[in-house]
Amino acid sequence: MKAMKLFIEQSDDYDNDAEITIRCGMTDERLESIIAHIRLQMFSVSGTKDGEVRVLPLGDILYFESIDERTFAYLQSDVYECAMKLYELEAQLEKANFVRISKSCIVNILKLDSVRPLPGSRYEATLENGEKLIINRHYLPAFKSKFGI
């Protein structure tokens, strides 16, 4: 494992937008993980609930689900409707800790508690809040590759 240096420059000269630059040779598993975490914190989606629009930090989202051409973001105990389509979210979140697990669902792998195989090459994923999602066979290779398998 290569050594890593962390420099933080804090000054009143900078405006409110923080800038992150990573200087490296080859990226390793640890660095990839850090980058994925940064991406997760950098992006956010807006969601609507009871007419109120809120910015949802990606780190709080358990999964996105598309129902009847509407997209919903599921948090620990809240559900928000998002304006973005599932395929748009998939493209945006490809490099973050999100992965498509079925035709209608994108899950945050950091919010997974465990997985177990089901007959027919499918998995059942249990989320931190105890909810269970099915990972379909056609999305299984992409899901496994998120874990380097």
């Binding site: 792998i109 950091l110 508690d113 465990s114 997985v115 195989p117 090459s121 290779p141 496994k144 874990f147």
Partner: protein, 138 residues
């Protein structure tokens, strides 16, 4: 990477089905009055490879129900066993008791393959669960 996974899955299906078929054939050879010749061994391997190839290819079809998938898999087995093994290689005769026995053997091989694949998935799931707990510790 994806090709490695596909090849590994393909190879596992062939090896498992061939082992089950060979064991069943050895057990039933006397009753079926069909000696296990070198040609027949290679022929059976060819049938197993054909079944694996057909299942592998039809797996890309996005079936809506598991029942449809099972029906198509059964069709794959029948095409490989009776089409390839019967019509082309001529090692599966079309007499009623033999057809029923061969279908039984094919089903046993199919169940064997499903069982092995499930064990493989269990190993992969354990690996994922281990990585998930490592990620949470970070």
């Amino acid at each position: 990477m994806q090709w490695k996974k596909w090849f590994s899955q393909f190879f596992t299906i062939i090896c498992t089905s061939f082992t089950v078929i060979m064991l069943l054939y050895a057990g039933l050879a006397e009753w079926m009055d069909a000696a296990l010749t070198v040609t027949r061994v290679f022929g059976l391997f060819g049938i197993c490879a054909m079944v694996a190839l057909l299942i592998f290819l039809t797996d890309f079809i996005p079936f809506k129900t598991r029942q449809t998938r099972l029906a198509v898999n059964f069709l794959d087995v029948c095409i490989a066993v009776f089409g390839f093994g019967g019509d082309i290689l001529k090692i599966v005769p079309f007499s009623r008791p033999i057809v029923l026995t061969v279908l039984g053997m094919s089903c046993a091989a199919y169940v064997g393959v499903i069982a092995i694949m499930f064990v493989n998935e269990q190993i992969a799931a354990n690996d994922i669960n281990r990585k998930l707990s490592e990620m949470k510790k970070r």
